[in-house]
Symmetry: D2
Subunit: 286 residues, 4 copies
C-alpha cells in the first residue's frame, strides 16, 4: 500500500529555530519530509508560514499521538497555529450551482477522472436541471428553490444538509445567490467562490457586461474564499484571456467560462491538497 502523506501547516511569529524544531520533531518519529515550503510575510518581524508534507515510515501507532506531542514540544513553545491534514480520508465536498452548469460539470468530470482528491457528497442548486448532471455522476442532489421571500429558509435548508453530510468544503460553482454572513458562519467550513471577473475589477453583477462597456482588452476570473463582503475574500487563483473589439457580451461569457472552469478547478485542488494558507485577507499558495 502507498504510505499516507500528511501535511503539517504552521503559522506563527517568525523567529530562529522553527524549521529545526519542526523537522527534528518529525525526524525523531521516522517521518520523511517529502516536500516543504515556507514564507515569511515580513523579514523584519512578520509571520512565518510553512507547509511540510511527510510520510510516516516506521510506526503507525506513532501517528495517533503525534498531534498531542507536537503541540507540547513545538506548537506551544513557538506560539503556533498549526494543523495536521492527512491526505486520507479525502475531504467531503459539496458543490452549489445555479442555471449555468459549466463549472459544475467540469468539477464532476475532474473528480471522476481522479484529478480532484475529494469525496463529492452533495450537489445542491436552486435550479432543478443541475440534478441531471449530479445523477450522471451518481452524486446525491438537493433542489433548494430560492425566492426573495424564502432566502433565509433556503439557507437554513442548505446549512442543515451540509452539516448532515459533514461537508468540509463548499464550492460555489457559479451559484448565483448571495449567501449571508450568517450562512458562512454557520456552515462551519471554508467556502470557495468563482467570480467571473479579474477582481478587484468588476465587482458585483454582470461583470462581462461591465468589461464590455469599459473596453478592456483582457478578461479574467477569480477564485476566492467567500466572506461576508461580496467579492472581497482572499484570492486563491486568477487567470485571464485576451479579447478584442469583436467580442460581444455573449462571446465574452463563453471565453470567460473557459477561464472560470480552470481557475475554480485549480483553487479547489490546491485547497484539497492543503496548499492554501491564509495571511490576513490574502492567501499564500504553496
Amino acid at each position: 500500500v502507498d504510505p499516507v502523506v500528511s501535511r503539517l501547516l504552521i503559522s506563527c511569529p517568525d523567529r530562529a529555530g522553527i524549521v529545526a524544531a519542526t523537522s527534528t520533531f518529525l525526524a525523531q518519529r521516522g517521518a520523511n519530509i517529502v516536500s516543504s515550503a515556507q514564507h515569511t510575510t515580513d523579514p523584519g518581524g512578520g509571520r512565518f508560514l510553512m507547509r511540510m508534507e511527510y510520510v510516516l515510515e516506521r510506526d503507525d501507532r506513532r501517528g495517533r499521538t503525534l498531534g498531542d506531542e507536537f503541540e507540547r514540544e513545538v506548537g506551544e513553545p513557538f506560539a503556533m497555529q498549526w494543523r495536521i491534514a492527512p491526505s486520507v480520508p479525502r475531504k467531503r465536498v459539496a458543490i452549489l450551482a445555479s442555471r449555468e452548469d459549466h463549472c459544475l460539470l467540469d468539477l464532476l468530470w475532474r473528480w471522476r477522472s481522479g484529478e480532484l482528491p475529494a469525496e463529492i457528497v452533495l450537489v445542491a442548486s436552486n435550479h432543478e436541471q443541475a440534478g441531471e448532471q449530479a445523477a450522471r455522476f451518481d452524486v446525491p442532489f438537493l433542489h433548494v428553490p430560492v425566492t426573495a421571500d424564502t432566502k433565509a429558509e433556503a439557507e437554513e435548508t442548505l446549512v442543515a444538509a451540509l452539516r448532515t453530510e459533514h461537508v468540509e468544503l463548499v464550492v460555489l460553482a457559479r451559484y448565483m445567490q448571495i449567501l449571508s454572513g450568517e450562512f458562512l458562519e454557520r456552515v462551519g467550513c471554508p467556502v470557495i467562490n468563482i467570480h467571473h471577473s479579474f477582481l478587484p475589477a468588476f465587482v458585483g453583477a454582470a461583470p462581462y457586461r461591465q468589461a464590455l462597456d469599459r473596453g478592456v482588452k483582457i478578461i479574467g476570473a477569480t477564485a476566492h474564499y467567500a466572506t461576508e463582503e461580496l467579492d472581497a475574500g482572499p484570492i486563491i487563483e486568477q487567470d485571464v484571456e485576451r479579447v478584442d473589439h469583436r467580442y460581444g457580451v455573449q462571446r465574452l461569457a463563453e471565453v470567460g467560462q473557459d477561464i472560470e472552469r480552470r481557475v475554480l478547478a485549480r483553487a479547489v485542488r490546491w485547497h484539497l491538497d492543503d496548499r492554501v494558507l491564509l495571511d490576513g485577507s490574502k492567501t499564500v499558495v504553496f
Copy 2:
C-alpha cells in the same frame, strides 16, 4: 523606391454599400488595397468602422486631389467621418517622462532600431536626469520642473514646446504629473498614457502597493488615451504577468516595468500605424 502606403480610416452609420463604394473609388484611381479591416459596433444599426491600407500605383498626381474627390463621391453621401493618413512623413512624437526611465529608454531604443515609425522630436521631463537618455539618442531635451505652485506655468511651457515642434502624438512614459483637462485640450493631439495597473483595477496612486494589499495573483499594465478623468480614457492595450506571495512591492514594480514597457510600445506603434479607431469611450484596434 518603395511605394507609399496610405491608410484610409472611416467611421459612419452602418448601411449596405460602404465597402463597395470605397473600394471602387480606390480601384478607379489605381490604388491597390493591401490590407483591410472593418467592424460594425452593432449589427442592428450601429456604427461602421473601417481601415484600408492602399498603395497608389499609377498617377502620383491623383493622390493630391484624392481627398477632395473622396469627400464628394463617398464621404459625404455616406455621412462619413474619415481621414487619410499617409505612412510618410512619419508622425512627430514627444515623450514626457519623470524619474523612472524604463519606458523612456525602451521607446528610444525601439525607435533607433527602426521598430517605431516616428520622428521623436522632443523628450521633456520634470527630472533633469531624463536628459541623459535623450542626449544618448540625440533627441532635444526640455527640463520642465513642476511644483504645486508652478503647475499651470509648467503646463504652459510644455504646450508651447509641443506646439512649436508640431507634435502629433504625446507619449506619457511614466510621467507622474497629472495633466489638466485644459492641457489635454490645448495640446491639440492625442496623448497616450501608461498606467501601471490592469485598469479598471487600482486606479490612482501606488497601484503596485494596492495590488499587494489586495493579494492579486496577476498584475498588469494599461495603455490608454489620456482624458480629463484620471485613468478612465479609452484603453488601447493591456497585458499581465503572474506573481505570487513572495513578491513584495519592489519586485511587483520590477515585474510591472517589463509589462509597462511592452504594453506602451505596442500602443504607440499601433497608433503610429493608424490602427486605433475610437468607438465612444472604447478603442477598436485593427
Copy 3:
C-alpha cells in the same frame, strides 16, 4: 427571422481591384457586408486571401443564382478559388475519440450549450466507454475496435459511416489511432486533430513524457488539419501553460488536458465559422 449570414471565401493571385469587384458585386445584389478580412501572403506578388460575411437583405431568389453569377463576373476574371459557405444549415460533424474522453465531453458540452454551431451526427471510438458520453448527449455512437490486424477494415467501417452521415468535418478528439493517407483521402472532408504538444516540438508518441525529459518550462497543445505526414499538417491554433519541476508526467497530462480542450474547441469553432483558410502548409485564421 434572423437573416442568414453567408461567408464568401476567396484565394487568388494578388492584384488591384479585387475588393472593389467583389464588394460591388455583392452591393448590386443588396448584400450588406457585415465583416471582412483580407491578407496578402507577399506584398510583392503573392496570393490574396479574403473572407467576407454578408447578409442578403432584399431578394431571396437572388441567392440561388448568386454563385453562378459570381463565378462569371468576378471569380473567373480574377482566377479565383472561391466558395460561398452559408451559416445555415450547420455543418455535419463527427467526433472520433479513444479512451481519454476530456476533449469529447468538452466538445459535446459546448455543442449542447450553443457555443458550437454544428450538427454533431456521430461519435465513433475504438473504446466502448465513449458510447456513454455520446448517449448522454443523444448522439449516435459507433464502436469500431481496432487491432493491428483489423486496421484497414476499421478504417473502411469508419469511412462508410462518415459518408453515410454526409459528414463535413471530422474531429479527432484524442483519437489515438494513426489514420492512413488513404483514409484521409477517402473521407472527403477536412479532419482536425489535437496533438498534445506545442508542435513542432515533441512530434509522435508520449509528448508529455518527452516534455518532462527535456525539462521544458511551458507545455502546449496544437490543433491542426490532419495530413498523411504525422503531426505535420497546417496548424490552426496553439496554446500553452507554464509548468515547473514539481510536475510529473501525470500532472503534465492533467494540465495538458485543459490546454487540449480549449485549443481544439477554438479550432473547431473557427472552422465551423469558415474562418480558416489554407495558405500552402499554413493557415490564415480570420
Copy 4:
C-alpha cells in the same frame, strides 16, 4: 547594516532526516532560515535538492568555519553535494554580444537600476558597436573579431580575459558565434545562453524564419545553460507570445526580442540569486 543572506544549496540521495539535520545545524549556530524550498526528483528513491536562505544573527566569526563544520557534521554523513553561496560580494559577470544589442542593453539597464545583483565587469563582442553601449554604462569593453580562420584564437582571447577578470558567470546575450566545448570547459564558470525559439522547437539557425515557415501561432525564447551540444543544455526559463499570419519574419523577430529580453533577464537573475539547481540535464528553479 543589513545582515548578509547566505544560501545553502544541497543535492543528495533522498532519505529521512536531511531537513532536520540541516536546519538543526543552522539553528545551533544562530542562523535564521528565511526561505526554504526542496524537491525530490523521485519519491521512490531519487535525489533530494534543497535551497535554504539563512541569516547569521549572532556571531560573525562562526560563518568562517561553518563550511568545514557542515561538511563534517551533515554533508559527509548524507553524501551531499553542497555549497554555500553568500549574497555578498555579488557575482562577477561578463556579457558577450554581437550585432543585435537589445539583450545587452536590457541587462545593462536592469543592472544599473538595481534589479540584477551582480558586478558586470566586462562586455565583449565581435562587433565594435557593442562598445558604445558598454561605455554608456561605464563597463570595460573588449572587441574580439572572429572569422572562420581566427575562431580558436578569438576563444583564447576571450578565455584569457574572462579568467583575468575572475568572471563567475558568462551571459551570451545573442552572441552569434558558436562556442566550442573546449571553451566552455576552460572558461570554468556557468554560461547562460538565450536561444530565440521555444526549444526544442527550431534548434539552430534562423528560428524565426523556421517558425514562419511552419506556421506556428505562438513563438518563444529559451534561456539555458550552454553545453557542447548546440541548444541542448538545461533549460532555465522560457516564455512565449501569440502571433498570427500577418507577422512576417521581421515582425516575428521584433516580438521575439521582447520575449528574449525578459526570459534572459529572469534566468540571469535567478542564477545570481542561486535559485537554479541542476537535476541531470534539467533545472530546478526554486
